[in-house]
């Protein structure tokens, strides 16, 4: 039901995202293994998003939005993204687990035989009451080298999206998940588009 309304909002959201992200220097990642270069990855497995939220009441389909957006940027940058649908591969993994550079969870994540795993974790997704629509998406990205059994990259961002005024208020009413959707896009863009170099 939300889809047609959401599509109407997308150009506005996209413009806002482009405006807000233009000229923003990308911060270094939280962690990057010595000798690791993002461009050395070829086939990258996007496992389902790890739910690290305390408040899970939002109906927004975080996994679908994040996987699709990340896959789009990866393709544009010359990587080969593979979507993993099986949620059992991340069962029981918590946000705090992902802070561990070497954990038991690394061995069971993603398909057997695969090497590079991209693990997004959503830590908070909230929509705020304002004179308009505003949302925050707190997200981390962990890249695992499954063959080496180690985390090689860890990054974090706070995706913020907001529009003020009665039009934004109306849009928020018609498409309740639109602000959260766009905040997720901002977060993924910051973690993937802003950091991943183009592969030759």
């Amino acid at each position: 039901m939300n889809k047609p309304c959401l599509k109407g909002l997308l150009p506005v959201g996209l413009a806002a995202i482009l405006v807000t992200s233009c000229g923003t220097p990308s911060a270094p990642p939280l962690q990057s293994a010595q000798g690791f270069n993002l461009a050395q990855m070829d086939e990258v497995y996007l496992v389902p998003v790890v739910e690290a939220r305390v408040d899970r009441k939002s109906k927004t389909d975080v996994n679908r939005i994040v996987q699709k957006r990340a896959a789009m940027w990866l393709k544009i940058r010359g990587y080969k993204p593979q979507l993993v649908e099986d949620a059992s591969t991340i069962a029981g993994i918590t946000g705090d687990d992902l802070r561990e550079a070497k954990g038991e969870w690394i061995t069971r994540i993603g398909p057997a035989g695969a090497r590079w795993m991209m693990v997004f974790a959503i830590e908070e997704l909230k929509k705020q009451a304002t004179l308009g629509a505003a949302a925050n998406a707190e997200m981390t990205l962990t890249i695992v080298d499954k063959q080496a059994g180690a985390v090689v990259w860890r990054d974090k961002t706070l995706g913020q999206f907001g529009m003020a005024g009665p039009v934004a208020g109306l849009a928020s009413l018609l498409a309740p998940g639109a602000a959260e959707h766009d905040a997720l896009w901002v977060a993924v863009d910051d973690l993937v588009r802003a950091k991943f170099p183009k592969r030759k």
Binding site: A27, L30, V54, D55, R56, K57, S58, G92, I93, T94, D96, D97, E100, E104, W105, E124, K126, K127, Q128, A129, T130, L131, G132, A133, A134, A135, N136, E138, K156, T157, L158, Q160, G162, M163, A164, G165, P166, A168, G169, L170, S172, L173, P176
Partner: protein, 222 residues
């Protein structure tokens, strides 16, 4: 009439906002107290010093707790834990920090408190569990109350509906966690978690409410 429509829209949009205090859904056991072993009031509980981690929400940079009245918050957590256990009629409750212990026991308690977050992982750290076991010594049936709070400091909210149309929602929050762990076996007897979407301040009514909610599911058998 013309004004009523946008006002109504804005009001309705506001209805869908997120809650300030959210209790984690830990399944039915969190509210019914249906654990593997009943929690009885005759036990002996040690309250460890809470672990507070202040970090920047955008990049996990560790921040100085003193700048956010961290020591006062830690004191309040300890006091609330002690009060909650005493109000439930637990026979013996003691805060580790206010007891005279042998140097070895003290260092074990400090280790467990410093690594408290590792007890909340999907697989609790065996080294910390081992420290708890050694700390209990002969009294293996004693329990520890572990408290851990990750305080995420983020940019504040603002809005400018007239000039730029920009809106930002505040991004600070605190995730309060508490668990009652049996020292001998390392089994978690009770656990709860509450999210407060603002920076905790000792005089904030929301923070006091969040502390009460944290212990609201703690139930004992007489």
């Amino acid at each position: 009439m013309r004004l009523c429509v946008p006002v109504a829209i804005i009001a309705c949009a506001g209805c869908a906002s997120s809650e300030k205090i959210v209790q984690a859904d830990l399944g039915p056991s969190a509210t019914t107290g249906a654990y593997t072993k009943p929690i009885v009031a005759s036990m002996h509980v040690w309250v460890l010093s809470p672990k507070l981690v202040y970090e920047d929400v955008r990049n996990e940079t560790v921040l100085d707790p003193a700048a956010y009245r961290g020591p006062e918050i830690a004191r309040m957590l300890t006091d609330t834990g002690l009060a909650a256990l005493r109000s439930k009629g637990v026979r013996e409750v003691r805060a580790v920090e206010s007891c005279s212990l042998t140097a070895e026991r003290k260092s074990l308690a400090e280790l467990a408190a410093a690594e408290a977050d590792r007890l909340f992982l999907s697989s609790p750290d065996p080294q910390v569990l081992q420290a708890l076991k050694k700390f209990a010594g002969a009294d293996e049936s004693s329990e520890v109350l572990v408290q851990y709070a990750r305080i995420k400091v983020g940019p504040g909210g603002f809005y400018d509906p007239l000039l730029t149309g920009a809106v930002r929602a505040g991004a600070s929050s605190v995730h309060l966690s508490a668990a009652l762990i049996e020292c001998g076996t390392g089994s978690v007897r009770w656990q709860n978690s509450v999210l407060l979407r603002e920076l905790p301040k000792p005089d904030s009514s929301n923070f006091l409410k969040a502390l009460q909610q944290l212990y609201s599911t703690l139930k004992f058998q007489p």
